[in-house]
Amino acid sequence: MASETRTDTATETAPQLDGTDVESAPAGIPQGVDVARALEAILMIADEPQSVVGLAAGVGRPVADVRAALAALVADYDGEAGGPRRGFELREVGGGWRLYVRNEYDKVVLDFVHTQSPAKLSQAALETLAVIAYKQPISRGAIASIRAVNVDSVVRTLLGRGLITEAFTDSETGAIHYATTELLLTQLGINSLDELPPISPLLDDGSKGFDDV
């Protein structure tokens, strides 16, 4: 199976150079692993620009090393290290480093985004929005159990549209709770959530079971 091969190779080249070091430095990368490789792994999943200090802590290497590796990555992605000029680039923005789409591919990406986000909300998105409006703040898990479907991508869409926002994160479960925004009120033509038409009878019955979810 394809995935197995991957795992195997992974294990082979896995940084197991010095077993004792791995134990003692949980955040650090083992000796011998290229800092640049670890940095591009982090940058691949980082949502916000990452400070050099934060990155240095993450890979457990001196700030100077990280700074040098970042500069090497910039040049690498720009095609100055023998490879192609990538469709993405590494930029320092607002005191942090983040991977961005390279400017000359903006149009391609924009076209792609357009096909991905139609001007109208889908029925699934509207229903999920309605659930959030009446039960806010509510976690994704609770929405999913009401709708009996996975709502991850729909919630992302609604977030992207600015119709909902992350209200708070439950400190115990780590679950993000969502609430609607002023934009939704504007779209609905009301001033406050109190003006939502009551749907209480059903909601009261139905909601009881969901609080525990």
Binding site: V109, H114, P118, L121, L126, A130, A133, G189
Partner: protein, 281 residues
């Protein structure tokens, strides 16, 4: 007999993943000593005769084992045991039935039933084993990290303007729709037992024969019944009539001829109406 040499020994070559927790339930019987799962696999490979296993002994051992467990594990293991035990029980019943020469269709049907149970056991095991693969894959993949970052502002700002066409009332209606509990419709199983044989109808037949006054043997009562279900229904009807003190039985020796006599003093056919109600008919 097949003593298990090593509890950790792979149960069968078909094992997809090592789902057998070494700390799981173990069975200690005269003919077998080892984990419960291994017992199943030996039986399924026909290396151990099911008729040699005393299910009650296995059950007793299991209950003892359960008492030392706590929490969700207990529930999970208990329900799993029930599934397997029921299958084993079915299978054992089939094994114990006489296996003469394959002369009549009924014997063939019994053997087929036994193979079906055997197949069910294998099927259950196969899915149980493959669930181990699912668990390990899900866990491995949960540790992987895909790129999933917020869309850059320059792209987000240029996505097509949202066209909002939902009125406030429509919005409330959508909410109502979303909150309406989604009933998962249940599927009736009645059709699985077709054709239905009515105990009430069979009771009427039995009553009509008995009310003539002469004692009748059970053999006579089921004469001409061409389906097993009819025989069962007539037997159940007799039990019901006995409950109503309408019939008496006479049997001179165990497994000997069963003679039925009509003993009702004031019987009305209205009594038939409720007959068999306990059996859903």
């Amino acid at each position: 007999m097949a003593r298990s040499p090593e509890p950790e020994a792979p149960a069968t070559p078909t094992d997809v993943a090592a789902t057998d927790a070494p700390a799981g339930f173990r069975v200690h019987l005269a003919s077998f000593d080892g984990p419960f799962d291994l017992l199943l696999s030996l039986i399924s490979k026909r290396e151990l005769d099911i008729t040699e296993i005393a299910l009650s002994a296995v059950t007793d051992e299991f209950l003892t084992y359960l008492r030392e467990l706590d929490g969700p594990d207990e529930l999970e293991e208990a329900s799993e045991f029930l599934v397997v035990a029921v299958t084993l029980l079915d299978w054992k019943i089939a094994s114990l039935l006489p296996q003469g020469e394959l002369v009549d269709a009924e014997d063939v049907a019994l053997l087929e039933a036994r193979d079906l149970l055997f197949a069910r056991l294998l099927q259950y095991r196969a899915f149980k084993q493959s669930s181990g693969w699912f668990a390990s894959r899900l866990e491995a993949e949960a540790g992987r990290h895909a790129r999933s970052v917020r869309l850059e502002d320059r792209f987000r700002e240029r996505t097509p303007e949202l066209r909002w066409t939902t009125s406030l009332d429509d919005f409330a209606a959508l909410a109502l729709l979303a909150f309406t509990p989604r009933e998962i419709p249940t599927v009736g199983l009645d059709h699985l037992h077709a054709p239905l044989i009515s105990i009430r109808e069979q009771a009427a037949h039995v009553v009509s024969l008995l009310r003539r006054g002469d004692p009748v043997t059970f053999r006579q009562l089921i004469a001409g019944a061409d389906q097993k279900g009819v025989i069962v229904a007539r037997f159940l009807a007799l039990l019901e009539l006995y409950r109503h003190s309408a019939v008496g039985f006479e049997q001179l020796e165990p497994l000997g001829e069963l003679t039925v006599r009509w003993t009702a003093e004031n019987w009305s056919d209205e009594n038939l109406v409720n007959l068999g109600a306990d059996y859903g008919q």
